[in-house]
């Protein structure tokens, strides 16, 4: 019997180890059914079709190019045939005519046309020629996948704890991941900051992404060991790896027990200064885990994830249901709902934005929502209704750039309140509205928006990216991403000072909030609340008691006086060293 033993390297994103049978998620062509568009959407639909054809063609050309060295001419000519299918003018004319005159979706028009062609082909008596169906299907799958956004086999087939192996996980797959059935994740695509990593981290699942070689298991159920510390994946691991896994697992269990103890503690410094520690969530399935970690409510709920697998935008009632679930399970602890941060790389399948060369600076978040008031209004209505009912809900707005834009948002929110009032769906509860501080321009005028909003939440990932003009996803510049840049610290201080001058709370919800090294600094700079991935909460509670708030403030003052990130990091490390030594001396035996 072939053992299939091998090792594949990638990027470890979560830490920890996972062992289990492989569950390989294969791509397939989804079922397409007839669907109509509005006459006004014809142009957009044709453009969508053009784009799908263009992308599919680009893929095939790239594959053909890669194959030039390895494959013989005749095989390459199959790719030529596939590319010609994408260029077929007759087929194009038939599909676009159906879109224009019957008002059907591009995927239906295309699917129907292809099925008709395949029907003719299947009647052929020649077995070899009938195999052309495979060539046509391969091309069709590519186009349809682009039209729908990549769609895969269902995760519902995952019934026992397994290592999920996939070339690429779409946001739709990610939202379906059952926490108790996935002990590890391995993907071919991906970086430390993409959605797979984000979700793996937030669910605490060991994951290796961006694997450098073929990740397909020898068979479904092949035993796979995921080492997310070192970014290694062992297929059919040997006795040495297994014994090492068991030792690590015992250590991990001890740590987990310790975490459970920490999770139940209060979030206070050594002198009893209390801060709020909340969870960043994007899935309702994470609620249990967040509560076990000791989260006091939700500091950031990313609503776009909740519906990203939906075929179309959720209506008001669907949203009310989802938000109620969240609000009721955390009540009376607060829950901060962030309105859709759509655009950029996060989009609904049925709502793909136009291609943008620079999506980080593009049409996204409140920019998109203000231009699509119906979409915005529906979401606000749902959020207000839940807020009125449970009383623990605040609303957070991402990518606000300044006072004028904020006033437009507040006006819209006020209209929604009036509407609900006239429908008898409101009460006298004040629903706090907050600004996500992530555009540097807004940070600099924090003192002019602070008097007219209820709270700030600083998104350091984007703020740092915009301040330093560094794209963290670009490996060539990622190392220049530096949250400890003196300019960043000064900006953070500016924001906390503006908040406190105007008597509003300020929280931080970026990755920096879960960086233990930064913890005393953030407190010292004046943050009242931290919102982090749930898994980071127990340890934050543990180390919070190693220093007093006065020490943290002094550290903040010192850090602000330094002129380079290197000096700031050295200061933080030295300070922690002193505190650690001190707390070990004090530690009871």
């Amino acid at each position: 019997m072939k053992s299939g033993r091998r090792m594949v390297k990638g990027l470890g994103v979560t830490g920890g180890l996972g062992l289990g049978p492989a569950f390989y998620l294969e791509s397939r062509v989804p079922d397409i059914s007839e669907a109509n568009i509005k006459p006004t959407e014809v142009r957009r639909e044709v453009q969508r079709f053009n784009r799908a054809l263009h992308r599919a063609k680009r893929d095939l050309q790239a594959i053909r190019k890669r194959g030039l060295r390895r494959l013989e001419g005749r095989v390459l000519e199959i790719f030529d045939a596939q590319i010609l299918m994408l260029d077929d003018r007759e087929l194009y004319h038939q599909v676009t005519t159906a879109i224009r005159t019957e008002f059907v979706t591009a995927e239906w028009a295309y699917h129907r046309q292809i099925q008709a062609a395949l029907g003719v082909l299947r009647k052929s008596k020649d077995e070899y020629l009938r195999q052309m169906e495979g060539d046509i299907s391969a091309v069709t799958r590519r186009v349809i996948q682009y039209l729908l956004g990549f769609k895969r086999a269902t995760l519902a087939e995952l019934v026992k704890p397994s290592v999920l192996v996939a070339e690429q996980l779409s946001p739709a797959d990610l939202v379906q991941i059952p926490r108790d059935k996935v002990v590890g994740i391995v993907t071919r695509a991906g970086s430390r900051t993409d959605h797979t990593s984000l979700v793996a981290r937030s669910l605490g699942i060991p994951a290796v992404v961006g694997a450098s070689a073929d990740i397909r298991p020898a068979r479904q159920g092949q035993r796979v060991l995921v080492d997310a510390e070192d970014g290694r994946v062992y297929y059919s691991p040997g006795p040495a790896e297994l014994s090492w896994y068991r030792t690590a697992q015992r250590r991990e269990q001890l740590r987990e027990k310790q975490s459970e103890v920490w999770a139940r503690r209060e979030a206070v410094t050594s002198d009893g200064y209390r801060i709020a520690l909340r969870a960043n969530l994007e899935l309702v399935s994470e609620i249990d885990f967040a509560q076990r970690c000791g989260a006091e409510g939700v500091g950031l709920f990313r609503t776009e994830f909740l519906f990203i697998s939906a075929e179309r935008l959720p209506d008001e009632e669907t949203q009310v249901q989802a938000y109620s679930d969240l609000a009721s399970r955390f009540a009376p602890e607060p829950v901060v709902l962030r309105v859709y941060d759509l655009g950029g790389d996060k989009v609904f399948y049925s709502h793909k934005p136009e291609f943008e060369p620079n999506p980080a600076l593009g049409w996204r978040a409140v920019r998109l929502l203000l231009d699509r008031p119906a979409l915005f209004r529906t979401q606000l209505r749902a959020m207000y209704r839940v807020a009125y009912k449970y009383g623990n809900v605040s609303i957070l707005f991402p990518m606000v750039s300044g006072l004028a834009e904020w006033q437009r948002i507040v006006d819209l929110a006020r209209q929604v309140q009036m509407e609900l009032k006239s429908e008898g769906l409101s009460n006298s509860r004040h629903v706090p509205l907050g600004i996500m501080v992530e555009i540097p321009a807004l940070a600099l005028e924090a003192d002019s928006v602070a008097p007219v909003c209820d709270f700030f939440s600083v998104g350091t990932n984007d703020l740092v990216q915009y301040m330093l003009a560094v794209d963290r996803q670009n490996p060539k510049v990622a190392s220049r991403y530096q949250p400890y840049h003196p300019a960043v610290l000064r900006t953070l201080r500016l924001v906390t000072r503006a908040a406190h001058t105007h008597n509003i709370k300020v929280s931080i919800c970026g990755d920096l909030a879960s960086d233990l090294l930064a913890l005393p600094l953030l407190l010292g700079l004046g943050f009242d609340e931290l919102s982090t991935v749930p898994g980071a909460i127990p340890q934050i509670k543990a180390v919070l008691r190693d220093f007093s708030i006065e020490e943290a403030r002094e550290l903040g003052r010192q850090a602000l006086s330094l002129k380079t990130a290197t000096e700031i990091l050295a200061l933080l490390k030295a300070t922690w060293k002193t505190w650690n030594r001190r707390s070990h001396q004090k530690a009871p035996s």
């Binding site: 000519e77 030529d80 010609l84 299918m85 077929d88 003018r89 087929l91 003719v120 052309m132």
Partner: protein
């Protein structure tokens, strides 16, 4: 260009002589050859007529080994087009 040239047409009947028939790879060669001409070029098998510049059409013919096809061209370069198409089929597409 004279009206005659615009409306000129030419045709020829050929037999598929490669063993595997007109599958995806040869279909691509046919389409590429046909696309070089201004004339409209059709392939006719039994009662089905397809555009020789559309690979989907050519593939749908499912023209197997030994079947007869009529090549029909209409346009200013109809003669040249038919000659070129005949040559492509006669080459057996580099297959047996």
């Amino acid at each position: 260009m004279t009206e005659d040239a615009l409306t000129s047409s030419a045709s020829k009947v050929i037999t598929i002589s490669n063993r595997l028939g007109l599958h995806a790879r040869p279909a691509a060669l046919v389409v590429k050859a046909a696309s070089a001409f201004e004339s409209e070029i059709f392939l006719i098998k039994d009662h089905t007529r397809v555009n020789a510049k559309s690979i989907m059409g050519v593939m749908m013919l499912a023209a197997e080994f030994g079947s007869s096809l009529e090549i029909l061209a209409e346009g200013p370069d109809a003669e040249k087009a038919v000659d070129a198409m005949v040559a492509v089929f006669a080459s057996n597409f580099g297959e047996e």
